[in-house]
Subunit: 250 residues, 8 copies
């Protein structure tokens, strides 16, 4: 019966991929702009890369542009050109369609070889000998319903927290090692100039094996937020990929 053939190839293909990607070079949590950019650059360089996203759809905060006006802005367009997004020069800024941007970025990451498990939520990190070795995940729907069900693990040489605001993985680590993270109160108001620059500058490894990228960087370092301008997100994703590629010697 054709219905059973369909069911079988899906179950077998999915479980084969899930089993194959339990061990990775890199695991990325959160399929927003920074995570997707990191996945694109890492996969393109040959790193075995898995991304998990708790929602059904990927794209994070891209879809709605500003307040639902689905237009996004950038200060530069080199990464956009690379992934094939149409831009329009308007004054000092480039605008693009939010839907085109979200889908181009995810499509190019997939084409480059990244594995993405959506409806899959990271609920913890795996820490061995003071090194982050991967993540603990569960079914996103099971988590949303609050069902009492155990998780499983996905491990990686390097883990990227690209969960946006709040930085979820770093937050878990912070609870047990508060002394490692900045605690002083700083400004956290919108300020495009400083946030775009700072977010890229501070992108990097925050604990052995754990990197942070995108808005999660702003959250960890109390940087200002930036609003519907996405250049910093892309550059942060590219930078974290560069840092890990160096570690992986690829």
């Amino acid at each position: 019966m054709k219905e059973i053939d369909i069911s079988r190839v899906i179950i077998e293909e999915y479980s084969r991929r899930l089993s194959e990607y339990l061990e990775n070079d890199v695991v990325i949590v959160g399929a927003g702009p920074a995570g997707l950019a990191a996945a694109y650059y890492l996969s393109k360089a040959g790193a075995k890369t898995t991304m998990v996203e708790k929602k059904l759809s990927i794209g994070g905060g891209i879809w709605g542009g500003a307040a639902g006006y689905n237009v996004v802005t950038f200060e530069d367009k080199d990464i956009l050109d690379e992934i094939g997004v149409t831009t329009k020069k308007q004054g000092q800024l480039y605008t693009a369609d939010a839907i085109e941007f979200a889908t181009a970025l995810a499509y190019k990451a997939k084409q480059a070889g990244a594995e993405i498990f959506n409806l899959t939520e990271a609920e913890d990190i795996v820490l061995k000998d003071e090194i982050v070795r991967g993540i603990v995940v569960n079914n996103g729907a099971v988590r949303s319903l609050g069902l009492h069900v155990d998780p499983f693990c996905i491990c990686a040489k390097y883990t990227i927290d690209a969960t946006g605001h709040p930085a979820e993985l770093v937050g878990m680590l912070k609870k047990s090692k508060p002394e490692l993270f900045p605690q002083q109160l700083q400004e956290y108001f919108m300020n495009v100039e400083t946030s775009e620059a700072g977010c890229v500058e501070k992108t990097g490894e925050v604990f052995s094996g754990l990197f942070v990228a995108g808005m999660a960087v702003c959250d960890v370092y109390n940087l200002p937020r930036m609003g519907p301008i996405f250049g910093g997100m892309l550059k942060s994703g590219r930078k974290v990929a560069e840092l890990i590629k160096t570690k992986l010697e690829i």
Copy 2:
């Protein structure tokens, strides 16, 4: 202040596009596989095409594959090749990654020139002289909250109901003109062979100016459902595009 420049270009770009796309050759409701395929083929042929989607993200039922196993299946791969989706032959079937499929399809539709307004919900049709002339839309968030707010209109020479199951636009028409639609009870159980074929065959104009495509076809004609096999959806989208292109003489 850069924040104001960003805000202004977004507001102006969005309202310029919204105003420009109030009048169209074709308006498509629902950004699932059939709607996106129709948008791709119509835009590629030069039809001025606008799509509205009530959710923030596009893709409809593609993302979850089957039961959350994010793999989708097809019987043919010609359209997938055309839009650049990686496929894998498994027995009689082709499998593809659900996320790659969703993003490739939307990306190619955007690249071809389709305009997409997400977070925009069709709440009614515009009917003049017994011809469907477009749709009545509202903010998707306003609708979800049940706020008492009036809608506005987007008009088109041809309107496509690609809202899946239930066929929302046809449903509105059915309430006032029940005699035009099949009422006899038929089977509506999963049956891949008959649904894949029937869904394409019945794709077409159901009322002057109103076309139906994708799962909405199955809903209107009480055809069986098909499950996580998406070939019929793509072919239905391509067929509705062909039919309208003929009408538009493009």
Copy 3:
């Protein structure tokens, strides 16, 4: 890493079982007393039997006894003796502990070889050439959240609707074939004597390939309800197993 070994054996074992049990002699929907009894007797006789239950835990309405007083009653004790449940004679009735009864029944069905997929919801039937050939299922958590995700199929030579009240699978069939089912209004009030007997008597095939057992029988035939007495449920489960064993010639 041991965590990955654990994750891998679970994923592989589960997907192997899921793939193996896509095709069955019998599929049973609903893991309440009648479904579990049917699973026990069918598996014991060697039928390849799969049961799906939308909730995380099995047992249906057994756990709460009456109004939460977790005691259940029976008129006979032969099946209870067979599955190893402690009973106590009280007047004309036998009482048992609801928790012991629920767990003994499920444990014995498992020991007999039945496969059970919990958190798995039947959302439709598979109908081919006017024969029910199995069920369409989805992740129970995905369904509870109302996510837009396609299902997959589990097929079987015979399908048992043991979903209780309302009889969910029969209800789907009824919508397309109302002429096949009793429509006259009858009493549906509690009446232990007539319901215990009637429920067993009417247990059987309601449509080619589809059997009904337990409270779902009462729902289909408008029989009275019975309350916290479970003998009829067990006998109905045993009877449906007998009928199918004859068909399977085992």
Copy 4:
């Protein structure tokens, strides 16, 4: 088609106004009695004034009077006379109809030239060089649904927090600069005499560029609450307008 003419003039008029009012002399958050009074006096004096209100309707806590008895009270009636509200002397107090008061105040603010964006929620402040330069806003319905969507900015020379209790803008500032605000515990019980006076007296600038008016004053300075007597609210709104007019030299 007339429906499209209507849609187009609305979209264009709204986006023209939104774009025009991205830069202001004053932006006021919260359309309750103090905010509306401030908007009235500032607009009347020629200041370019924009008000945002997260709800669909304006008026804040005026509509319900006391416990839903829609009557409001005042100790003086000069401002009420100025905006055209009918009053009635009852003992030492003046009473007015809550609905007449709410609508008169908003109507007069609009007539005086104030721009009001309802269903628009302030989610942050804009802080540059230690000066508050405006607010970060989003669609009120998008925020109520918790959708992941970026905001945009509205800037102004002076910002007024008229959000009532709790003082939302000041609260954001307090988190990063707790040393600037009173922390000692004080009474916060109803006391009409001291609250009516104190609320007006303490109305003013709390941080460079950020003013506070109305109940938000009581919140910032731990003053007693006042109940359904609205004279202090009006005087606080008038006072903050006076202070800003002096700054603007108008």
Copy 5:
């Protein structure tokens, strides 16, 4: 204690007004544009008029303009001029600010002498000798919570159903006297030209003592809807006032 003086004048003033307005010339249900216009014209002519509104704020669907763009449109401006709303000619249409329109209309109705009880929900009509004699009301908050609390009555010579879509009072009457109301299916799609005219034309008495105005007219007569153009609403409110004034011989 001043707090008690305030409490007492509010309770006494409210209960005096509530008691005084238990018997009226006209009671209007629903404080949207048509109801407020009717209240304005009736009160101006000297009719003792009470309006009830279930929400805390009045204005109905005016506040959000179209999809939250708070601009409203009109084909004529004579009534707007009369109530003092600023208009702007744009092509064939006049635009106005939604907030200014809502508040001006309510303010002028109040100034003309109308009594408005907000947070007061009509849950039934009073019917004596086949004549509608008023309405049965309850506390709006009590109703929203579904508390089991009895209502009280407000009577009037004439009752106006201005509840919009669906026409709530007419709906109650329809259930007991379905033969009096049109039952045939008609179009109910947006069509500004026919709805603006039809809504005014059909405004009138639908049952002895019960009048219908505004969108409730469209609901009763299955007329098309109109969207964010409010001229018909105002004219319908003015017309129902004229019809009742003739009956009242004022």
Copy 6:
């Protein structure tokens, strides 16, 4: 340990009473004014009477008076005098305090010997040989949570449906025997004169073994509703008690 003594006497006393009152002369569903009055008069006459109420507290719609104004009205005061409620003559009416009325009525019913199980919901009737023989009950909290738990039974020679609007027990019977109940549409608007009289007049046996009292009478016979006047409720309760006393020959 004293805590265990307390627990034990409560459990034993409750289960003794529950067991004792499984068989009754009369079972009353709904502890509102009519049900409590019936319980009072039946118990006083010596009938073994049990009442079930799904909520924790008894009193039904008495507590809120009208719209939360906790005052109730009556045309006569003889029953009030009998149960010891303070009344006040105001015009043609007597007023009483709602709380005094609710508690006096329940207290006197208890003193007269009625057994009341609160948090106990009737979910069905027991019908044997076309005679109503009692009710099927469950834990009210279990029912509110929608837990899948079986009920138990309480039987009686006569059952009174005093569930108010809608008449829940009669509604169950109506579904299986629609021909026995009035179906024609009648008025159901507030009309004190006719409802007070009609409600008492129609109080009686509606099916063998099943009586109806109070607002449930109005529901069964489509009588007008009455609002916050409770004389008819008391008289209906007294009348149903008289009718059953005659049957019981007490």
Copy 7:
């Protein structure tokens, strides 16, 4: 029209009482066992006493006995004899029916002259010159819905917090005067012997003008809880009445 007579007497009677009881000797918050006992003894002694209760029904935690078994226990029966509750000696304890106890207590408090406003929630205290002078109240339904509506005041020479756990009025005071209340952690586990005694012993004035009674005493002084034994509650209510009667010199 009789309906209007009924409405008018209710509105006038309620507002008369509400106005009359704005100033009292004593105001009690919370109509549970301690509050009702205090109301009974204070009213009986001639103190002008008003009680507010946020729910529709009074009785607090009495109705459900233990875990829904509606039986309550006592160590002594003198107060029960005084208010006319039937008791049964069982070992060292007296049992009573929870419903009889709740209604007898409230009925006797009403008969003694206490005024009770149900559906009326205390949201704050009135504090003048460091003396508690009464409470700030709102409509309970308005509060439950979170509507933005101002409260009004009820004043008294003495205020009793009988709100149970947590002690709501004391909690408000604690936030501004933490130094006045015990902060050290103590046991708060069930211990009938110590809690029954301690709750009565500690009953008294906790701040000038504010008394605490019943479970609120345990909350303020971190005493153990007591479970379904109500003697301490009654004695605490009687004691607080005695203390205030001495102050009032009655």
Copy 8:
């Protein structure tokens, strides 16, 4: 009537058991793997053992395996062999079916003589003379609804907190005696090796009369979590049973 016989035997049997098991050797809170194993070993040794579980069904986190893949893993199989669970060797691990494991464990505990009250929630502990003497329980449905109802007590010589994460009973004790429990921050990330060993090692008495077992041990001692491997849970349950058996001298 048979329905009454059924109701009576259930009520009497349940209340007899509830009364009998108010005093125990051991009371266990939480029917997950550790609690059930403890119940099995204690009952087998002759200890009078009662277990309470707040949900309707028992089994805790067993049912869902990992992320809903209903397979569980173990490092050893001796306890599984003892309770009759089918295992499969896969590499270094044993797998078992989650449903078979859950039901076998509970069934064997029941067969060994353990009493289990499901839908029964522990809301507090009983502490006398600094010794934990049992628990305070309530109806689980009543608690879920937040109804205001008092609890009752179940006492025991020894109490086991097997509530998983968070350790509910220990948490109550911690609030009043924080100095007795570890407060320093430690890692709490998944680490199978250390958690499986540590959980068993730390199983034991944490306060006079109160033992902790299973995941609650990890919670109390900040040990790492372990995921879907259940050997530690069983061993912890067995160990706590051994410790208590020694105390009981059985």
